[in-house]
Subunit: 245 residues, 2 copies
Amino acid sequence: MSTTFTPLPEASTADLVADRLRDAILDGTLRPGDRLVETDLAERFAVSRGPVREAIRLLAPEGLVILRRNRGAIVASPTFDDVLEVYAARLSLGTLALTHAVETRSGESSRFAEAVDLLTTMRDDSVQADPQAMLEADLAFQDAVLGLSGLPRISTMLEQSARDAASFVSLLGITYDSTDHVALIERHERLLNSIAAGDADATVAAWQQHISATVSEFARAYGADAHIHDHPLAHHVLGTNQETP
Amino acid sequence: MSTTFTPLPEASTADLVADRLRDAILDGTLRPGDRLVETDLAERFAVSRGPVREAIRLLAPEGLVILRRNRGAIVASPTFDDVLEVYAARLSLGTLALTHAVETRSGESSRFAEAVDLLTTMRDDSVQADPQAMLEADLAFQDAVLGLSGLPRISTMLEQSARDAASFVSLLGITYDSTDHVALIERHERLLNSIAAGDADATVAAWQQHISATVSEFARAYGADAHIHDHPLAHHVLGTNQETP
DNA sequence: AAATTGCAGATTGTTGACAATCTAGCCTCC
DNA sequence: GGAGGCTAGATTGTCAACAATCTGCAATTT
């Protein structure tokens, strides 16, 4: 395998602790409003408070926890407005990234094959049976596709927004298995095909439709379906591609 | 004054150290590639390594320093591609924010007056004589205007990109006083007026023109003027509003 | 002489202890 | 009876010492 002599992961203790905490927040072990007490966590992970403290401060800019001076950190409680904002940003930056990807013909790169592989993963029955795995595969696919742009800073922003999205799924108590997997995979296929075809307009349209469908899903699960259209941002993220019944 | 009973600043030691370091990087005291040695800095600021370490890690996600595991931190060295990427994101998200601001009639809010004040600051001769002060006033104005959207997350992203822009100015060795202050202030006035008038199209156009002019300025200072149009992103950030001679 | 190995100094990573701050409950005093 | 002050416990903020790692140079080998 070509992965044998790949650069070492080299995660610091703080990184490892941050990973554990992130997982705990994203799988619902830690719930919004829960306190993160440095002493407790240090004892549980069998490390000192230093790395734990660093890990918590690593999660703060990711939006997963809120720091309050001299009062410790709590798990964030995002609102539906946050969802709309993040997806509005995601729509906007994603359109930029995908347009750039198509224009530079990134559809021919080896990284394109990676995205195809990740989509195959999502088709796997055992993955579909596990909401957590499905969520991870979905976001990995989106990161891969958007990463085709070859724009490191914008890709980083988009990966950040993907993490935000992941946190919303669990923090807002949305179960991923309620999603229509077939429709999701179909949207992803459409995205890949239009990139491969070098059709910028179709790619952007596919992306807009994906965002729109995802936000609709959120709105339904969140129970805000009725008055979502009142929100000024809603018309941006839902666009004109709504799957009207 | 309404600012008298505003929440206290409450900056931790780490925050204060981070502020000093940020200033040092932005005013050129620390140059790209310079090492940030925890021991040295701790001694200079007369604190222990803990807060210094935390401060350095605070600057990393801001893009000002690069962390290398077990090898300390160095001041970042952004490339011209970074400039284009950041401004492409800024164009994209700013358009979103401003559209939203106009649609929700934020032009009538008290925060609008704040932006007007900041523009007045920029007209001050003593400010214009100080490149550092001028840069700060410019970015404060832009943050204020974009903050009119009332979208906290997107505003945060835009403030981040403004800090990126500020770091480019100094890290790339661009002197802010070479800018045509009159043209800059005029662009800002156009932006404010179109927001006040509630004209979304004019606002977006003014923003695009501002980004385009700024990037052109960067390109000129950076000496990449000749082949900038070859870059696939350039056509996005420069748009069709170029001030052609 | 070129390449490799081993060492010494410098620097980061981690730890446990101490100081400062906050929270909540009780008490006092009007 | 309620407002304000006080105290105890818990928790975060800071520090200095120790351990692990890296860098550059010199010694060694071929």
